[in-house]
């Protein structure tokens, strides 16, 4: 077994997240699928850091986590405000930018 297996796992998780973004209709679940894709990329970054013997990949993963935290805060607030006006959390219902 080599660290390549981690990259394969990361590719599988990323694909599952992408399929989830395309298939699911609930906006929050779509958001969670995006989080899964970010996590998969983080796993590959950590594995690349190990393969290269440098800590840069881990620092990149750290920045990805920070950006993901900020993104989650803003995204969930947008979902909340859409839910407040449209009374729905489905991505099919929000077909207008206003109202």
């Amino acid at each position: 077994m080599t660290p390549t297996y981690y990259l394969l796992l990361s590719a599988l998780l990323f694909s599952l997240g992408a399929v989830g973004v395309l298939v699911r209709r609930n906006a929050i679940v779509v958001f969670m699928c995006v989080e899964l894709m970010l996590n998969a990329v983080n796993l590959s970054l950590v594995t690349f850091a190990r393969i290269n013997g440098e800590l840069d990949g881990q620092i990149m993963a750290f920045f990805v986590m920070v950006v993901a935290a900020a993104e989650v805060v803003v995204g969930l607030t947008i979902i909340m405000s859409i839910f407040r006006t449209r009374r729905s959390a489905s991505v099919d219902d929000s077909n207008l930018l206003k109202y």
Binding site: A11, L16, N42, A49, R50, L55, Q58, A69
Partner: protein
Amino acid sequence: MSAFLLAQQVTEVADTVSTGEAVAFWVLAPLSLLGALGMLFARNAVHSALFLVLTMLSLGVLYMVQQAPFLGFVQIIVYTGAIMMLFLFVLMLVGRDSSDSVVEVLRGQRLAASLLGVGFAALVAASLARALNDVTPVGLVTPNTTDGGNVANIGVALFTDYLFPFELTSALLITAAVGAMVLAFTDRHARGTKKTQRELVEERFRGDRPGSLPGPGVFATANSVATPALLPDGSIAEESLSAIVETTAKERLSGDVRDVAGTGERPDAHALTGARADARADTPAEGTATKEGEE
């Protein structure tokens, strides 16, 4: 010198994947895949969130196994601890029963998405396996054992080489916090729907009823706002009914109606003395209390 030798020795060992790591991988990788699949297929959004927590926890342990202990703990604390709990909060606010609609808006979209996912996974996995098949990993033993270990080295790199991205991160976090506050803020006074106190008072005194409406009925059996107030003749005061609350059925209030109308059972004045009321009622030469009870 001895530390260097030790690092050299450990490096040679850590280049390859040890048996323990392989065992951990083969336990955790199916778990994380299971969590991802569960998140994808769970109808309930809360179940999806919990499956994602499982995936993130196993990924955190995989980070620790892969010589990234700092990231592993940050993953568990920040992702599963903070972000996923935020998700659960919003799920509970936005209505966790808002499950996915089964109707396909675009025909064949699910099939196309699944095919795309499978194709993408095969492509990436094949190219990765082909490109990295004969790569020998260097391993992180040297940066993880020298100069204070993993955390200290990440900190040094963050505050020297990556100082500018780090400062940008602070700007990003501030912007996100302010943006979340702006988006979540609702201006209640700007809508014009809420009347001022003066308008309320004038409206009341110009209406046909200057006094306050009767409150809900408060009885020994019920004190909720759904309980209507009873008029002295036992009928229900219609003005005490709320327009939006479903009122209690009148059958449930029959005992209270009888009490208010005076046709029900009268209170026993000797209830606390221990004497039985019916025993006293049998003897006509009793005090005034019994006579009052008989009236």
